[in-house]
Symmetry: C2
Subunit: 327 residues, 2 copies
């Protein structure tokens, strides 16, 4: 580990763990990856509690970092802070900016080492509550990357496409509202566990026009019956030989993403700037959906989680680089 | 089989076959049931073609009827007329009343016996085509049961709840439009193959208030983000201890049915009379959803398929009861 490492940052999700050695300005000096996500922890001699499994995973992935610089602070986000994680980090209510996240971190003491600071998830209370865990740090990373480039608008909509896509309304650096769409998981369930999958040919090459057709249906008057109804057209267009099995996966994807984006119309059509953050191919699908509404191409970011962890650690006063950020 | 049998009517679906011996006025004189649906045909010596399997099933279930009265006409509806059936009965375009269905029947010659007349399905052409097969006969049965009671309105909306729920707009006895909602199948896929199922306790006693809560969310401004979003509240209400696992199945059911009924608002709120037809417990859920919108309790019918087959057979001139319906 480099001498100028100021923070060890962990993105610890369900299926994997990424560790970042970070230096001044949030620069990533070194990255490591482990398959020991929260749902795939190691077992073996001496691992007799969940805490021991988390500590063993941490030591296994970056024990040399911890030994070489025992005073480097540690921060983590993601499912490591869930009820199934190392310790539950309570959800933080809205509005929430990096400073609130920093104040609300859960501190896990580690015998013989620095404590681990775990970023809280976000909770939007109300009749339909909403939660996120991990995405709050991505949003902080997006804001950090925009402010670094001097581009941070006062109000923006951050879209985080994924299995459960999140859309966050950000005002003056604070998340003030967010919504969840189970689009990715519902796509998988429809494709694999309903009659629609019987005629879909999986693994087909990307069919841009089928995707655009799905978008158009969902975002036009044709979509007015809603997604429970329009998805049946995957089958009927097939039966009537108007849509080949190879085109059906992308048509269904366009339908679902189109319905999701149509639901966001009030915010989008009011001209809120949009930043997408996530897996680039999936972000491009959402960008296409936005452009199909006549909106300008959105900014697309990826890999911002370490930057978000840096921003929150900085707000917590953890990143004390000599001469730059003394307490 | 009774001497006054005028029609042998078959409701031959994917998973089962029902045979009805019918007499004057569409009275069901005798009913039999076989597990040999279109997807579960028998195999064995002498069954070397699909046609042989269909004929063997028919002989096995009501060979004595066919022998005793070899001149009794035969009619069938359902998946027996699909591409996977005995022979494909082409879809009939809209508008369609019983007389059009009767004219368009596919006739399967049966050596040594009466031919089998197979009712066509319905096809609604257009950018989002729609198909039904079997439900067209249920609709005919609903209309027959209403006209028998002198209650047939000029315009009505017929709802057929099921795995794929159909809603048909009927004017002057003709289906002029229909829509399909995959609500039942999507409910099963969400419950069994997404994260929502992890906290749902299946087999819980019916929770009327959880169902009503789901309806209210879907049919109010809370539902404006659409079903891809609202279904996530099954999980978040659980996480925030506002909805027990035992209540989650009915809450999800209320959400989905509520979104479906909300999509039909233009027709429903215009005051079109509604008849529901299907499995009574499921029809009651839809009736509750309609009443939650402030609509009057809908008429509920069940078991009308033989009556629909009778109406179509009559329109085709197949039911020649002495003295009542001579050609």
């Amino acid at each position: 580990m480099r001498e100028d490492t100021a923070l060890i940052a962990l993105d610890w999700g369900t299926s994997s763990l990424r560790a970042y050695a970070m230096g001044e300005g949030g620069a990533v000096l070194e990255t490591r990856r482990s398959e020991h996500g929260v749902m795939h922890l190691p077992t073996g001699p001496g691992i007799d509690t969940p805490a021991a499994a988390f500590e063993a995973t941490l030591q296994g992935l970056c024990g040399d970092w911890l030994t070489a610089h025992p005073d480097t602070p540690l921060i983590a986000c993601g499912m490591v802070g869930s009820a199934q994680g190392w310790r539950e980090a309570r959800y933080q209510p809205l509005p929430a900016r990096a400073s609130e996240l920093a104040t609300a971190m859960t501190v896990i003491e580690r015998p013989g080492g620095q404590p681990l600071h775990v970023v809280p998830g976000l909770l939007q209370a109300g009749e339909l509550p909403n939660v996120m865990r991990g995405e709050e740090t991505q949003i902080a990373g997006v804001l950090q990357s925009l402010s670094g480039a001097g581009q941070a608008p006062t109000r923006l909509l951050v879209g985080l496409p994924g299995t459960h896509t999140k859309w966050a309304w950000v005002e003056d650096g604070a998340v003030v509202r967010f919504e969840t769409f189970m689009t990715g998981e519902i796509y998988a369930a429809l494709s694999q566990h309903t009659i629609l999958g019987r005629t879909m040919v999986p693994g087909s090459p990307h069919d841009e026009s089928a995707f655009a057709r799905g978008l158009r249906v969902a975002q036009s008057a044709l979509g007015s019956m809603g997604v429970l109804s329009t998805v049946f057209s995957v089958r009927t267009l097939g039966l009537t030989r108007q849509l080949a099995g190879e085109a059906q996966p992308d048509y269904l994807s366009g339908l679902l993403i189109g319905h999701e984006v149509a639901a966001l119309a009030p915010a989008l059509d009011a001209g809120m700037p949009v930043v997408l953050c996530g897996e680039p191919a999936l972000c491009l699908r959402y960008a296409t959906a936005l452009e199909a509404r006549g909106l300008p191409p959105p900014d697309i970011r990826a890999g911002v989680t370490p930057l978000g962890l840096w921003r929150i650690a900085q707000a917590a006063g953890l990143t004390r680089i000599p001469g730059s950020n003394l307490p």
